[in-house]
């Protein structure tokens, strides 16, 4: 608006070329995808959290006949009847979306064998009641005999308000979870970040041997579902655990188990971030410190820590977010110790109280969004540091220090390998702790609840489809948003939608999907309970990291490629196919393996969405553990682990092969 006043003359309106239209079409398509797969479900969930249901008795009217079936025309309001009979208290009149209220309690003389007839109607079209399974509404009198009148139930009306939240906050058992979740996440964060920092420090700053092996081992927890360490901990420290005495009477079921397991599964995430932060510090600062005769201790606090501070902060918030939103681990080892994510599961699956599940989701969303926002801000600063980097630090051998680092890393590696080893051991023995002979009977998944080998095959199918469609959608979306000219409002909106999934806990997303897709009025209702919805949900759940990977790769490409191509009058898709995709192929392969591995291990989002035909391996681990089949659960968990190792190996080989063929230009 302001520009109008400072620039005279008629504004030039761009004429859009065919490329512009095609690209905008693609952006619109992928934006619609994100709206359907993310925005609408979240909206459905939020509105559910603020929806309350109660029976509005003023809506209903009755007539009662005499023994001969003759009505005298007296109309009785349900509200007046209730006031007279005190049939239902005010509290009993508030209910959930599925609530049904029997009407016979309004009539103390009611007997289903009598010959009395009843008439019932609403006072307007909003009044809904059921006669048997038939849904009736409106002001037409429905006449039923006594036997049928037993089966007349009233349906509640919906209103919007905060009463769900007031119920939540007045239920001590539920509120306690907030404190539990925050406490456990904070403790796990402190422990994980400290352990990961020294691990990353050893990898970066020492000349110890076997760095590559340590790095590989440290990454292993990414390849298993988060609940697997829980199973291992049960075998180690549970009631019949191998090392139960270590616990000195304390129970592993509860905070200790959750913290230990959380440290295991969040360790690689923290280690990766801190390693990156340490790798960018400037060697010249260390040379300056040495020349100023600073002690190593002083150098550490004045050079190393400030240089890595963004990495440390970022790692802390990522770990915090992972722990507070994780559901599998506290479910397996939490015992009576309630966490927010488990509360959602319990409310929805256990009590069928969807409104309360939505309320807990909203509560969980707050710390998750907060941690996400801080991480994003810090990451941006880290990037600024990175671009200003100069000389890479090269560690010098130091016998004592190197041995110290080696011992430390070996301890961590033993912890990680130990946890996985215990799971594998548990999977292979007949009956812990009574019959320790080896057997494969725990692999007979088809004999147990949880979905059997079909679940394992489903998981592979889900992971492959997620990797395939996810990579295509993510990369095309990132390309369009990065390389389109103008259209800035649309692109900003798209960017926001692409970042959102990272802030949404899996449980919340899964629940949101129930609300949105299970609604019979939704034209997309048909995908509910199919593999499609699982793929859709998983792609969306892991969209952000994939999107950022693609954007980073695209940003590294010269911005003028598009300009040159259009000056040569070539359509953008030719450039896309012949240049953009080949140049970004390493990133594309990284995205696909990331999606594959996460689809194999994820529990939280899909636990609400699988059906009997689409049971998944990760969910099977959960369900078999729940049913007491702990050894088969461990066996299935390790199957996921091995599958991911194979996938990663294949990915590495394919990458190398493809890179050799298509990236020969990289070498001079």
């Amino acid at each position: 608006m302001r520009a109008k006043s400072i620039v005279p003359g008629k504004r030039v309106k761009p004429k859009l070329g065919s490329d512009d239209w095609i690209m905008r079409g693609f952006i619109a398509l992928i934006a619609i995808y994100l709206v359907i797969a993310l925005a609408f479900p979240l909206y459905a969930m939020l509105s559910k959290a603020f929806s309350t249901y109660h029976y509005d008795l003023g809506q209903f009217e009755f007539q009662v006949s005499d023994q001969e079936g003759q009505f005298d025309g007296t109309i009785l309001s349900a509200r007046e009847l209730n006031e007279k009979q005190q049939a239902y208290s005010q509290q009993e009149l508030s209910t959930g979306s599925g609530g049904r209220l029997a009407v016979t309690n309004f009539f103390p003389d009611f007997s289903f064998r009598s010959t009395v007839l009843y008439k019932v109607r609403g006072i307007d079209d909003n009044a809904v009641f059921l006669v048997g399974s038939e849904r009736k509404s409106g002001t037409v009198w429905q006449e039923v005999d006594s036997n049928k009148f037993r089966k007349v139930v009233l349906r509640p009306v919906k209103s919007t308000g905060l009463s769900n939240f007031s119920i939540y906050f007045s239920t001590p058992a539920l509120v306690r979870s907030i404190k539990n979740s925050l406490l456990i996440s904070a403790i796990s964060t402190i422990i994980t970040v400290s352990l990961a920092f020294w691990f990353a420090y050893s990898l970066n700053r020492s000349c110890m041997r076997f760095k590559g092996v340590f790095r590989l081992i440290a990454m292993a927890p990414i390849l298993v579902p988060s609940l697997l360490p829980g199973i291992a901990l049960v075998y180690l420290f549970g009631n019949q655990g191998m090392l139960k005495s270590v616990m000195m009477g304390e129970s592993i079921y509860g905070p200790y188990g959750i913290v230990a397991g959380s440290v295991f599964f969040t360790f690689p995430h923290a280690m990766l971030i801190i390693t990156t932060a340490l790798a960018i510090s400037d060697a010249r600062l260390y040379e300056a410190a040495v020349s100023l005769r600073a002690s190593p201790w002083r150098t550490f606090w004045t050079v190393t820590i400030p240089g890595a501070r963004y990495g440390l902060i970022s790692a802390a918030f990522v770990v915090f977010n992972l722990v507070i939103t994780d559901f599998g681990l506290p479910k397996v080892i939490g015992g009576q110790f309630n966490m927010l994510a488990v509360d959602i599961y319990k409310q929805v699956i256990g009590q069928q109280n969807f409104e309360m599940g939505a309320v807990v989701s909203v509560v969980l969303l707050i710390p998750a969004l907060f941690a996400f926002a801080i991480d994003r801000i810090v990451q941006r600063k880290q990037v600024a540091l990175l671009s200003a980097r100069s000389v890479v630090y090269e560690p010098k051998p130091n016998r004592g220090f190197d041995w110290l680092c080696f011992s430390y890393c070996a301890l961590i590696a033993i912890f990680i390998v130990g946890i996985l080893g215990v799971c594998q051991y548990a999977a292979l023995i007949k009956f812990w702790p009574y019959d320790l002979s080896l057997s494969l009977k725990n692999y007979a998944f088809d004999l147990m609840d949880g979905g059997g080998w079909a679940a394992y095959r489903n998981s592979i199918k889900l992971a492959s489809l997620t990797a395939l469609f996810g990579t295509v959608v993510v990369f095309i979306g990132a390309y369009m948003v990065e390389k389109t000219q103008g259209f800035s409002v649309g692109r900003a909106g798209f960017q926001f939608l692409a970042m959102l999934p990272m802030a949404i806990p899996g449980m919340v997303l899964g629940l949101a999907y129930i609300f949105f897709f299970n609604n019979p009025n939704n034209p997309l209702n048909f995908i509910y309970g199919t593999m499609t919805i699982l793929v859709l949900c998983t792609v969306t759940h892991f969209y952000t990291v994939s999107h950022l990977t693609a954007v980073t790769a695209l940003k590294q490409m010269d911005n003028e490629f598009e300009s040159v191509s259009s000056s040569l009058k070539q359509p953008f898709y030719k450039l896309f196919v012949r240049v953009s995709v080949p140049v970004c192929l390493p990133a594309i392969l990284d995205i696909s393996i990331y999606l594959f591995v996460n689809a194999m291990t994820t529990v939280s989002a899909v636990v609400f969405l699988y059906s009997s035909g689409t049971a998944l391996a990760s969910v099977a681990v959960l369900n078999m553990d729940d049913a007491g089949d702990v050894a088969p659960a461990a066996a299935m968990g390790m199957m996921i682990f091995y599958t991911n190792i194979i996938a990663r190996t294949v990915h590495a080989l394919v990458s190398r092969g493809v890179l050799k063929r298509t990236q020969s230009w990289r070498t001079r």
């Binding site: 000056s567 012949r578 140049v583």
Partner: protein
């Protein structure tokens, strides 16, 4: 086409090939280009020259359609192209970053624009070879861009840009990423190629040497406006504004005041100069190029040549306060009680310095030829910017 739009079209051709009319570009509240009107003639090599941030690249991108102007018209070859997307315009472009597709061979890079134009494979291949020959890099077609040097890559980018025989060639700081030596070499290469092909060319540069040596005409830009348009010699010899005088080459600037008619005064020294329109006694900047200062005295001219002072009023004595050897000449800092606080820089030939044995502290007689003196208003920048600082 309105041929009569410019008063004196330069000799290249009388048809304006590219016409820019009252073009403005704003980024939010910042006005990057204001009131730009310009004509480029067929076959001409025009240079947009200016410091960074002056709007020269913005103007080039508007011509290419890569960043549309806010208002104003652009005509190319008689067609209004003001709002067309790049693909519907007719130009080839070369960027500072080369922007060669890294995963395609040199051949494929050059052939990129030739594909799906109805040409057969053999025809495309022949054209690619012809272009490789033209830019002096035959036999390099099978290599990847990363295997070539920067200068070679830029020549490939040039070959790719002209492959489709565009009517207009746009060069966006094409030499800025290269070493000094390669730059000078490529300067000639590009100029020669342009002459051979006769393609109308617009180049953006911040390097005045590049502009002076390559362009038929230079468009000097500053703060989003055109300061002056002219041939390199015109721009250098006859700068219209203090900015141009200062930006192109070097210029002594002395605060002084105008006297009536054709003279000015710096300190106590009166100097004859070309006619000016300043009021008697008003503040002015008196400017003269260092190489225009003429030394006088024994040994000032080579043997046999006469050493005559043409305008005695413009001759005075100075003390050499500093000397700097710059290879092909000496740069002397001169001061004089008559000039007051003003300092003068003069470029003296090595021979003259040798013959006159000029040294620091020595007194020297110099003359400033009146016709070489330029007089500018003192606060020119503000009046020219026409309130730009306020936006």
């Amino acid at each position: 086409m309105n041929k009569n739009h410019t008063a004196n079209p330069p000799n290249a051709s009388n048809t304006p090939f590219l016409t820019i009319k009252d073009l403005w570009k704003a980024f939010g509240k910042f006005v990057a280009l204001r009131e730009i009107s310009l004509e480029v003639f067929e076959g001409e090599f025009v240079c947009f020259l200016g410091p960074s941030g002056c709007g020269k690249t913005t103007l080039l991108r508007a011509i290419a359609g890569l960043d549309l102007q806010t208002s104003g018209e652009i005509e190319q070859g008689g067609n209004d192209i003001s709002n067309l997307p790049p693909a519907e315009r007719d130009f080839g472009i070369v960027f500072q970053s080369y922007a060669l597709f890294p995963n395609l061979t040199i051949e494929k890079n050059i052939a990129f624009g030739l594909e799906n134009t109805g040409k057969g494979k053999a025809e495309v291949s022949a054209r690619v070879n012809e272009l490789l020959e033209l830019v002096g890099l035959p036999d390099q077609g099978k290599k990847y861009p990363a295997q070539l040097s920067g200068g070679q890559q830029q020549r490939i980018a040039l070959a790719r840009a002209i492959a489709t025989e565009p009517g207009l060639l746009l060069l966006d700081e094409p030499l800025s990423a290269l070493d000094a030596k390669v730059r000078v070499f490529l300067r000639h290469e590009i100029k020669e190629l342009q002459r051979k092909l006769g393609v109308t060319t617009v180049m953006v540069t911040h390097d005045q040497e590049e502009g002076l040596s390559m362009a038929d005409r230079i468009v000097v830009m500053n703060h989003g406006i055109i300061e002056q348009v002219g041939t390199p010699a015109e721009i250098y010899r006859d700068p219209q504004t203090l900015f141009v005088a200062d930006f192109i080459g070097e210029m002594n600037q002395m605060a002084g005041k105008a006297l009536s008619g054709s003279s000015v005064q710096v300190g106590q020294q009166k100097l004859s100069c070309p006619d000016h329109e300043f009021k008697n006694g008003s503040q002015v900047i008196v400017a003269v190029r260092p190489e225009d200062i003429v030394p006088h005295g024994k040994g000032a001219r080579s043997q046999g040549a006469k050493d005559t002072i043409k305008t005695p009023g413009n001759a005075f004595e100075v003390i050499v306060s500093d000397m700097e050897f710059l290879g092909s000449f000496w740069r002397a800092s001169l001061q004089s009680s008559k000039l007051g606080d003003a300092r003068l820089i003069a470029n003296l030939s090595i021979n003259a310095v040798h013959r006159m044995s000029v040294e620091i502290g020595k007194t020297l007689k110099i003359e400033i030829p009146p016709e070489r003196i330029k007089v500018f208003p003192p606060s020119q920048k503000v009046s020219q910017g026409s309130g730009l600082e306020d936006v």
